[in-house]
Symmetry: C2
Amino acid sequence: MNRSDAEALDAADPLAPLSGLFDLPDGVIYLDGNSLGALPRSAARRAREVIAEEWGSGLIRSWNTADWITLPHRVGDKIARLIGAGAGEVVVADSTSVNLYKVLATALGIAAADPSTAGRRVVLSERSNFPTDLYIAQGLCAERGFELRLIDPEEVAGRGDEAVVDVLDEVAVLLVTQVNYRTGRLLDMARITAAARDAGVLTIWDLCHSAGALPIDLRGVGADFAIGCGYKFLNGGPGAPAFVWVRPDLVDRAAQPLSGWMGHAAPFEMSPAYRPAAGIGRYASGTPGIIAMSILECGVDTLLAAEEYGGVPALRAKSLALTRIFADLVGERVAGAGFTVESPMDDALRGSQLSLSRAEGAFEIVAALIERGVIGDFRAGEPGVAASPDILRFGVTPLYTSYRDVWDAVDRLAEVMASGEWREPRFAARGAVT
Amino acid sequence: MNRSDAEALDAADPLAPLSGLFDLPDGVIYLDGNSLGALPRSAARRAREVIAEEWGSGLIRSWNTADWITLPHRVGDKIARLIGAGAGEVVVADSTSVNLYKVLATALGIAAADPSTAGRRVVLSERSNFPTDLYIAQGLCAERGFELRLIDPEEVAGRGDEAVVDVLDEVAVLLVTQVNYRTGRLLDMARITAAARDAGVLTIWDLCHSAGALPIDLRGVGADFAIGCGYKFLNGGPGAPAFVWVRPDLVDRAAQPLSGWMGHAAPFEMSPAYRPAAGIGRYASGTPGIIAMSILECGVDTLLAAEEYGGVPALRAKSLALTRIFADLVGERVAGAGFTVESPMDDALRGSQLSLSRAEGAFEIVAALIERGVIGDFRAGEPGVAASPDILRFGVTPLYTSYRDVWDAVDRLAEVMASGEWREPRFAARGAVT
């Protein structure tokens, strides 16, 4: 494959017009939409409108006149279309961490109240789950007398149903992220959810690295709870609000612990007694961040705009093609440079990123690529865990990543490796990289 | 007093230039900054910069290059200057509700671990505290085996020290809002905190209706915890992020329950084990909302800009003058129209608002005033509580409220009452008013 082959793929790509929905800086190949989605063109205009008109002119009246009060549900309904949830089942609120706290607390309460699971004291997750999930679970488990048990990703994924079922008998709640943030490994949500349900285990799916990138069918698989973030594939902006979904027949079974006024059945009664709203509304808590949520809506709208081009299935097909070509090009162009592809090459097991590892220099190579305009990121291996090497992470966002981007990125990687420039001392300084 | 007297007061007002920091719509007298602060002129430009440049061009790199990662502390340090806290003691995060959950959980944990207070099972608050505070406390108390006991505002305020001390012997934590959202009554933070401390009771101060409006000295009074919102007198925009302060010698005593990755001692180690950051950083939780927090910074900066005009003490003096003149004008201009001033007229007991009540028509009169360009708001009385009438609420924000605004507002109120227009059916339709 050469560069003109890549250009031919772009010319034939039905999704290509969608990249026009984004403002991407010249000279940059952006392969970090799995960490922070790019800026939708509509966001700046919408922000101006919300700030100058709705806030500035409308002032307090905009809670009604600009319909701020229903915004968390309106954006939630749009996200619902991307994750296989129904209208009225998703609310936008808080952060992923805070929403996980809400649903895990609810799940522990439901498990404890069910005679068939009341004796179970284990929350099961995987060792390489995104840290904030583990931190939140760790704190809540300690508080409620549960054990947070961490297993290897392979044990969660298993073969057939055996691996998961083997470990589920003491488990109250299974907390898993659909796509692993380091490797991009995709779990089989349908199979794992079914195995958990058969074992009487409630499931919480973290969709941070999958919502907006691949088809998700929460209702279809029979999941119990889901959370996810707004700033990755949903393109909602840095630290955008997060979302939460609860299976409709569970949602009214328990209140969530962050029982703020926006989750009240009638917040403006200003009653001193809490009475949770019916449905997902009870998972709202404090006053919603209107500006951020309005910008998130612009990001979600870029995904809904894809519906007339084949929607999420078309995005998924392109994403898989991009990562496959990426891996193939790495095999062709930087063979012998010491890279290992850490992402599964079975399409059924791969999210929307390609992760490479290398025995040394992963951080420096990412930094050298950034200097050359290719923005991926670095994720350190877990100290002392051989199965957790340092990672060079390249996310593809089929809304705006082109085949030529992938070709050029590997071309620059080949240049960085051939020149040895990544060994220059200026690339070794580490700051926070998110 | 006539209108030209008010204009003379404005001409002599050293703070008058500060209103130029805000974009206020023509033809509007805005008396609801206690619910949603007005738009700082700098906010639109700053939002454009954060969105187009930091997010759009900088993309993921801006976590470092635009210093997003320290933003919650940078804005926290600015808020600290307004509330008598030190640098490094305040962090901006989440909502007031969520932050209250964090500090109340911490406080309950500290009280339970202290042999001298371990047997105490009461969280004391006041019946008319802002509902979300009561809802959060209600949930957490139920979960942890505490009783949320609500007393009348007068009992908290007390005379001398007696009233508070009388009720404190079973109390682990006292949770109070410095300025009551309905009546504008200001509690004596120094006296109440001292009484609580003498009784071994931890104090949580909700500063939502006071931060940015009057002098606060958290360190000086020896408070234990404080929280507050960004969208009222801090002018941070609708649903702006909130802040949290913990007394420095308590902050490392316990982790808070929403142990997300941003509160980790080293988030980018991506370790599976939570280790709380030293200091107030542990009260951060999920990924911070960068756009909203940058806009909040513009709002806080309007208050810091007042420092060269006398700062918070000068704002406080003007605020008291505005509410006093407001009450005097109500007494002169709408005497006999059935209004009762619900805010204390003792300056030491009044926040930055004037609350009126009326046996009937409070909602409709507020609506009729809004139609005439005077924006205040309505707060329903608590059903069945005689001491809790329907309220017409008028906030003054000395940064941008003028003496003429107050004169004109009362003038319009006189017109509304003289014409009887508020009885027209169109004013009776109730939507959500926040």
